[in-house]
Assembly symmetry: C2
DNA sequence: ACCTGAACACCGTTCAAGT
DNA sequence: ACCTGAACACCGTTCAAGT
């Protein structure tokens, strides 16, 4: 049976969710598609590109429209939505972190954060910094969280699972720091929780 | 020639720095030590444990005494020192991030941050959250930075390198957010830069 | 356009046995 | 205590050739 690129990506997500990132190999994926491993190289130049496409699809599936109007509400929505998207598939956080680190894809969340931060008036220098800081927080936290959630099945010894409020609290720290800079340029109120 | 554990770790750091994390394989390391790969399993139960020991040694070499007295000075020192330690060896940030994600070692920076944050009076719930948030920022940022620094030699297309001030600015954001919570419990001044 | 067959150059890990 | 020899069960990638 013949496939095209989208079939491969869909099957790759299934393999990811069922077996984890370490077992998402070209050979295993080819096996699931009932095809020789070399056939995959017709659709993707290498494994990194495949993983980038899988990460993009995972984020696309988790995408939600923004409801809030204020920049800080939107930032919290984007970050929470990203976390939910990462948690929706096994090893989602590890996959997206890897793809972002290699700089081959998964750039949507960063772009969305930059756009949402616009009205905060941080300036052209601080806005990308703030967006990256938020992104690092979400990826790092969710990677931690997902690793600990899955610690039962894997070999790693997990200490206590993260309390539910931990993500929100960490995010609020950073948003407050950003709000302080926005305030310095004279706009939002300082004491609203994130 | 016979080695013990410390020799293996030292050679592993050399291989890491010379060839990168992807080429720090058990087989290559064994080759450098002029030993069969199976000999390494006398010293370490698996590759993860070896990497954990390498990460700990890398952090040990980068350790510096704390000069500051105020908690926010100490936090900035710890984070900057961690960044410097990670940048001192090729793929240092990726190695330490991996080891921390697996929860097998490299816990010193987290412990130091928790200790430094003590006097901020954040409480038992927020202190670990703040420490993790800082750690995620430093690891994420430095991983980004190191990837872009090394982008010339690797295949990944790096966009512009991070501006020098980016790390400091991102760190200041988070420290300000923490300071705000410390202020809420009534201690430090709010307008001191990080 | 999509795939096979066959190969190349590797991996981590185990385990009995040696000194 | 530290190591060898040999094997097991895998990897990603290339490339000529097929339909």
């Amino acid at each position: 049976m013949r496939h095209h690129r989208d079939d491969v990506v869909r099957h790759a997500i299934d393999v990811l969710d069922a077996y984890g990132l370490a077992d998402l190999t070209m050979r295993r994926l080819a096996g699931e598609l009932d095809v020789r491993p070399s056939a995959l190289y017709h659709h993707f130049r290498d494994k990194q590109s495949l993983l980038a496409a899988v990460a993009d699809e995972l984020l696309r599936r988790g995408a939600r429209p923004l409801a809030g109007t204020a920049w800080d509400e939107q930032v919290v929505e984007i970050c929470s939505g990203l976390r939910d998207a990462l948690l929706a598939y096994r090893d989602g956080a590890e996959l997206v972190s890897t793809v972002i680190a290699f700089g081959l894809g998964a750039s949507r969340p960063y772009d969305d954060l930059v756009a949402a931060l616009g009205p905060a008036g941080l300036g052209d220098e601080l806005t990308p910094t703030a967006a990256r800081t938020l992104l690092h927080l979400v990826l790092g936290h969710t990677l931690d969280e997902q690793t600990h959630l899955q610690a039962g099945s894997a070999g790693a010894i997990g200490d206590e699972p993260r309390p539910r409020s931990d993500f929100t609290a960490g995010l609020a720290l950073v948003v407050d720091g950003i709000r302080l800079r926005a305030v310095a340029r004279g706009s939002a109120r300082l004491d609203q929780g994130a």
